[in-house]
Symmetry: C2
Subunit: 323 residues, 2 copies
């Protein structure tokens, strides 16, 4: 017998995303994760030396779901010099009642980018102050773009300030984001960002803090999403120690990587102060309680986001009805 | 940009296998594994309760290769009652220099079946006595069929004796194998197998030994491939303790599952007696040294087999030249 496994191209995936409630999917993802309804084993990893690269396998399912998902994400950092994207990958969807492969999503890593950016929007929706006067973006890469794009779903603010290490990429960022309806200016330093923005997204690969505790003003929300390894670090540890609220996508994962991981190695901060984003979304933990608080959300990426964005894509494919 | 990932159907995979040197690929696989040239991280696993099922993710690469491989294998044991195969899965091939997905092999688990059976043939080729007068098969399932089929590549013997627990499935086995050119009779007990066969393959899901040490005659080679979990057990531990040579596909894996695992819990047998199949194939370890020896090969399945069979399929696809 021959089974029918749906093979979905990137074009069809992007089309399906257009009709999908990606933010709602991410809310469900974080609630399932924090509600202990997600089965997510440790990430599989392959490392390569020559050329340098890595492949990560994230997989799991939400109890009671019709599907389980296996995602492969690759990063080969010499690729751009060959005219190829550094990141790629695909997602596999299997029927959780039969184990048969339902769909192969040839997304080239796009779904990872979108789900990561959408998590930033969920973070802002639940933690940012009600009136956002200017959005600050640290970084000018793919995530810096997608984060701002996704924020348009949760705020009417279209004023943005971007900081990048290269003036070329910063100019390119301003141009690209202007076309999406934002008024974007380039900041000379991250201090300009902290001075004028009350919603800040850090989306860099910094390994030394780029935001200083002393600079961040009352009434600011920061989503730190650039650091996803033990090494990377975007926020000064003192900033987490003095913040009114620190939120993690996954407390256990953030203890090993991301901003919280770094802050735990400094005095004045303990993991007991951290709540999970899914608990805030579900109303099981308190989020921001006043406009003047400083809130921080540390995003390191969890497989449950991959599961939910796959489900959202499958639901919105025009030519099939799976599950 | 859109990358081209080749999606290969089961029909095309079977066609490619027809032109592939699968046994040579398995020899390469075991030599790479035993020669420490394979990077094979621990297997990923997902378990399901209702209905009962599992998914395993095996992945890795051989140093210096152009590709890395990720295999997903599923087993959902209520499937046959729904008219579906219990086992399924697929294999993913990625470019090891760019991380881009090269091919999705929608093999429905067929490549796992073939590589597992081909390992049995490699075992027989390197360990069986030179004159095989009758082949004994314990079990009547897919592997019992494929094992005998693959053995036709390494011996001219077409006399076979099969033992199964159900007379219906044993008859069906005899019929199916007759069509492939074997003269197959049904044995009433495994004692009949040990008495008349000098090449025996055990391919059952037994959790209590089906072959007794006292019954096995001098000059016999046994390939035990049914047990791939800590629980399953086909050979009496004493049989390994008294055998002249015990060979494992992976010593480290066989210490945790398969026949060797069970024998290690009994006196008179130690892991120091075990050599790896890849070392025998490479000529780095001694195989059978006389016609009268009893040799045993314990196969539990290693990811390097998946890597090599994928490469063999890719090389033999008519419509593309990858790598």
């Amino acid at each position: 017998m021959s089974m029918s496994t749906l093979v979905v191209s990137r074009d069809d995936i992007e089309h399906a995303l257009g009709g999908a409630d990606v933010l709602g999917a991410m809310e469900s993802a974080f609630m399932a994760y924090s509600g202990k309804r997600a089965i997510v084993p440790p990430v599989g990893e392959l490392l390569f030396d020559n050329p340098p690269g890595d492949a990560h396998i994230k997989y799991g399912y939400i109890k009671g779901d019709d599907f389980f998902v296996i995602k492969v994400a690759t990063g080969f950092y010499d690729n751009p010099s060959k005219g190829l994207p550094a990141n790629s990958g695909l997602m596999l969807v299997f029927d959780a009642r039969t184990g048969l492969p339902s769909a192969v999503l040839l997304d080239e890593g796009h779904l990872t980018n979108v789900r990561t950016a959408a998590a930033g929007a969920v973070s802002a929706q639940h933690l940012a102050p009600p009136r956002i006067h200017r959005i600050g973006i640290c970084g000018t890469g793919v995530q810096a773009r997608l984060q701002l794009q996704q924020l348009a779903e949760v705020t009417e603010c279209r004023e943005a300030l971007v900081w990048g290490r290269s003036s070329e990429s910063t100019s390119a960022y301003c141009e690209a984001m202007s076309r999406l309806g934002f008024r974007v200016e380039a900041a000379k330093s991250t201090w300009e960002i902290t001075r004028s923005c009350n919603l800040i997204v850090t989306a860099t690969i910094a390994s030394d803090p780029i935001l200083a505790a002393a600079d961040v003003q009352a009434g600011t929300h920061i989503t730190a999403m650039g650091s996803d390894t033990p090494h990377k670090n975007e926020l000064e540890p003192q900033l987490l120690a003095t913040a009114d609220l620190v939120v993690a996508d996954s407390i256990s994962q953030c203890m090993e990587r991301g901003e919280i991981h770094h802050a735990l190695h400094h005095s004045g901060f303990s993991v007991g102060q951290v709540v999970e984003l899914g608990a805030v979304v579900a109303g099981d933990a308190e989020g921001r309680t006043s406009e003047s608080q400083i809130t921080i959300c540390d995003l390191t990426g969890v497989a449950v986001q991959d599961i939910e964005i796959c489900k959202a894509v499958l639901k919105n494919l025009p030519y099939t009805q799976l599950g």
